[in-house]
Point group: C2
Chain length 381, copies 2
């Protein structure tokens, strides 16, 4: 077992749980939000910055990293931790979602996905075995199986076929693993069809995976569907393994999924919105480019202890975005990631104290209030 997982507290009134697992690069306290560093960098944030905002685990992406710098570079340079100067745990997504979502020619067969690389214009094959081989070279602490991603609004036969292929690929991935120190997670699929999610969990959970992810939920579905499927899927997963909701979401998504018993998250929203000048604050979303911030001599969030909020005014951040200066996205990214990590730390404490159900309700209510006022906090648009 490369990833001993221990649940240290559960919480009355919800399925939320407080836990931790140990990787070769340190312990991870759950529930955890993982910072997305697709190309072995979280946009414009150095590893020291990420530590300072509370990051525990970074996410790399097999699809992007096999194209650049490539497997050979990781083999010669000694893995992603040394490469990017991050000594903490790393999880690598398998690339299944990128194969599905990125433009460009590709053919998906039982063997795997054949696609043209955007860095070299050459054809590449990403099979379940190749995804494990690449992740082994990358040296991530947690590897993901290659899955077949489809639009979550696909019809049931299409969804079932992709799910079944994902199952076969998951077993091939398990067989292909060579380094027992790297954990391997399977991905439950089945779109928004409850019966398929049940079948997927039933198929995958008897196998010796180190954790289970809930996949296919970032594409085209509504918040209500995300919540229903997440709650169902989490319930179907074994209690003694970490549960990872992939690519979701907003703070309400996180709160609802924690209530349902999810332990791990990742999402590009905090850094993606930061790049556009949108910040998550205790009084709702703030769009820094708006004229009302031009002379706003106040912190982005008066209740926030991050370096951005304790050093700079909204007026200065507004100025940086207006002048298209890269310091703007960087400072707001740091704030948004800090806000996410504070949400997770508060949630962990609340679960320990048995107060998470009321904490989550309070936060969700506050977000709802802000959504109905001039700024909005909860939904991705």
């Amino acid at each position: 077992m490369p990833l001993p997982f221990r649940v240290s507290a559960t919480c009355p009134g919800s399925r939320a749980r407080r836990g931790s697992f140990l990787t070769s690069h340190g312990r991870v306290e759950t529930p955890v939000f993982m910072d997305v560093g697709t190309r072995a960098t979280v946009t414009d944030c150095a590893p020291a910055d990420l530590k300072s905002v509370g990051a525990q685990v970074l996410l790399g992406n097999t699809y992007h990293l096999m194209l650049r710098p490539g497997v050979e570079a990781f083999r010669r340079l000694g893995g992603i931790h040394k490469f990017m100067g991050w000594s903490g745990p790393v999880l690598t997504d398998s690339g299944g979602y990128q194969i599905f979502s990125l433009p460009g020619s590709r053919t998906v067969t039982e063997k795997g996905a054949r696609f043209k690389g955007y860095t070299d214009q050459q054809m590449h094959m990403l099979s379940p075995e190749r995804a494990i081989e690449v992740q082994t070279a990358i040296g991530s602490d947690i590897m993901m199986v290659l899955d077949e991603c489809i639009d979550s609004m696909s019809d049931e036969p299409t969804t079932r076929a992709a799910m079944n292929r994902t199952h076969r690929w998951a077993l091939r991935s398990l067989n292909a693993r060579t380094n027992p120190a790297q954990a391997l997670f399977a991905i439950v699929q089945g779109g928004v069809v409850p019966q398929l999610r049940r079948e997927s969990a039933a198929f995958l959970t008897p196998h010796p995976f180190d954790g289970f992810a809930i996949g296919g939920l970032a594409v085209g579905d509504s918040r209500a569907q995300r919540e229903d499927v997440t709650a169902l899927a989490a319930e179907l997963l074994p209690p003694d393994k970490p549960r990872y909701l992939m690519g979701v979401g907003t703070p309400p998504d996180l709160l609802n999924a924690m209530l349902a018993g999810v332990d791990m998250f990742d999402c590009i929203i905090p850094t993606q919105l930061a790049a556009q000048g949108t910040a998550f604050t205790s009084t709702g979303r703030v769009r820094l480019t708006r004229t009302q911030n031009f002379l706003a001599d106040e912190p982005l969030d008066a209740t926030c202890a991050c370096a951005t909020c304790t050093t700079f005014s909204r007026a200065y951040l507004h100025h940086l975005f207006k002048a298209r200066e890269p310091l703007g996205p960087r400072l707001v990214s740091m704030h948004n990631l800090h806000a996410y990590h504070v949400l997770m730390a508060e949630s962990r404490s609340a679960i320990e104290n048995g107060t998470f159900a009321s904490y989550a309700k309070e936060r969700l209510d506050a977000i709802d209030r802000h959504e109905h006022s001039s700024t909005r906090f909860g939904e991705v648009r």
Copy 2:
């Protein structure tokens, strides 16, 4: 006298001098390299980053800052130090060079420069009096007079006319000053004509400016001309006031100008070259985008103590530039600025120890050697 300047050591075999001056925002040790933060930000470097690489003084630009965020913002928000979160000294250039060098319609008359603003498409007037008014609102510790900049290859009558206008504008600037706590520097002009440089220094130095700059040397001239004019102009300036060589230059430029007795410098080269992936190292310039860095598992500069060199490999920096990730320019900017500040700190020590002439010769010889090997360190291309 808002800027008491004290020379604490001179150095045998050169005109180099070690000094310091006091501003409302702290003491500055000279010779000093000032980091260029045109729009109230040094590209992608937060104030804490700048402190960590040894920055003493930041440079703002009147032309850019009067357009965005504008005078009213500085008046309402309390000046540039608070605005950008930098508690150390700030020098503001007057905008004369931007009026000359940036594209767009403008008319320069005796009154000042009329130009169309790139932020609002409105007509603006930048006169000597307005430049002081704007710099007063910005609240910089050192203001520069508005000067008329021309191509340094202009004929003598043109150069003389611009010089004479610069002199008249300098006296109007002196009269327009309202805040005695802000120092004001005049700018010696005269292109590459020694006699004009003599006339300019002779005209300006009797007036109660707090320091004197050597202007007009970043445009179209050769390194030899820069050196000759700098040496001459520095010699003509009073020994009891700081001498500031504007917008120049490379490490050899700095070393030669310090030998000639210059105390203050600024230049965009360290950050501009960083944006392209070029780093200044002890073994010459390194272009990180080159294929030879793809698998280079070594620091950018093994002799450098900056966070970039002690944390990351050339291979990782190469990857960041290939992937167009903003962390690349940021990390190399930090390294280049650190290298510049180390050069200045070593120079200050060498002047104190009376060894600067040999230190400078050693550095210049080393740079020459690298220029004649595969990488080049000294010249801007």
